[in-house]
């Protein structure tokens, strides 16, 4: 009964966020977890963790392009340099939006929803 009430009280925004977040969790397991780890911890100095909220915030509009086209070259995460290569993916804009919502709201991050409209706009500006 309480659960039903709680669900009923959720705002439309909250419902949409939950939909993105739970969908993103599954995409993360399939496409990201092998390298970045179950808790977004990365792997030593080889693969960066996904726990640097400041990096994620500063690069928020580039993240969709990184997932689509891959990422190469040196980056600084939590103060440590990483210079491997993340491969490109064939994720759709909606899948990218879901998995970004999951990552930027897990592992200590709390950035709110990144919806498909934002992702499509960002993808249009990939360099």
């Amino acid at each position: 009964m309480l659960v039903v009430l709680a669900v009923a009280c959720q705002s439309d925004e909250q419902v949409e966020f939950n939909r993105y977040y739970s969908g993103g969790s599954l995409i993360y397991q399939t496409h990201c977890e092998n390298c970045h780890g179950e808790k977004g911890e990365g792997l030593q100095a080889l693969i960066p963790p996904l726990t640097d909220s400041v990096y994620l915030k500063n690069n928020k509009t580039s993240l969709a392009c990184y997932l689509k086209n891959g990422l190469k070259g040196k980056i600084i995460i939590n103060g440590h340099p990483f210079e491997g290569e993340m491969p490109a993916t064939d994720l759709t804009p909606l899948e990218i939006a879901k998995v970004l919502t999951y990552v930027t709201n897990s592992f200590g991050n709390k950035a709110g929803i990144i919806n498909v409209q934002l992702v499509e706009a960002d993808l249009g500006k990939c360099r």
């Binding site: 977890e33 092998n34 780890g37 792997l43 080889l46």
Partner: protein
């Protein structure tokens, strides 16, 4: 001697708290005459002699592993799929046994063209592994693919998508270079079992283990 082994194994089986590991691979009975008596012994398949180079450019042969328990796997440093999770799990094995000089981990690269000795050294540094517990081995493609068969591991050339195909098994080898277990290196639960099995193998008395 064969009889002694059987007796020892039998007595090992009788005490329930003493676990033993199976011996994997092909085996064949060998009958020979010792002091006028006919003795039948079992010969197990073992890892044959080999020669590779580690991340320090040191030559590593079968002799380097004499009297040591070791774990072998196959990987390449640019592997985008299962290698990171395999080596995240292998790191737990490394941490558990790095103080033991009678234990080794050997990881063969299946991409010797890209994974040169300096590339392997850089990978080791980034993994945070040092010393001689975990060797990353470079050799010719032929030698590496050949020895993979002895570990019952499947590796292949690049497929049309440009990916190397290999399975993510960790192979446990005893001091006599016999296979004692295979574990899915991508599964943390199986790697926990590997760590437990290494401890069982370390506790195995040398008399019973010797042929």
């Amino acid at each position: 001697m064969g009889l002694l082994v059987i007796v020892l194994l039998y007595s090992a089986c009788k005490s329930n708290n003493q676990a033993t590991l199976p011996i994997l691979g092909n085996r064949q009975p060998v009958t020979k005459t010792v002091d006028g008596k006919t003795v039948t012994d079992t010969v197990y398949s073992t890892i044959p002699e080999f020669k590779f180079v580690n991340q320090y450019a040191d030559t590593i042969t079968g002799k380097s592993l004499d009297g040591k328990i070791y774990v072998a796997d196959f990987f390449f440093t640019t592997c985008p799929s299962i290698c990171p999770v395999m080596h995240r799990n292998m790191l737990n094995v490394y941490k558990e046994f790095k103080a033991d000089d009678n234990f080794r981990i050997i990881s063969h690269t299946i991409d010797p063209k890209y994974d040169t000795v300096p590339v392997l050294k850089k990978y080791a540094d980034k993994m945070g592994i040092s010393g001689n517990t975990w060797w990353l081995l470079h050799g010719t493609k032929d030698a590496t693919y050949q020895i993979a068969k002895n570990y019952l591991v499947s590796v292949q050339e690049k497929n049309p998508q440009g990916e190397f195909i290999h399975d993510g098994y960790f192979i446990l080898v005893d001091k006599q270079k016999r296979l004692r277990g295979t574990y899915d290196g991508t599964d943390p639960a199986q790697v926990t079992k590997l760590i437990a099995d290494i401890k069982i193998l370390k506790a195995e008395p040398d008399e019973a283990a010797a042929k």
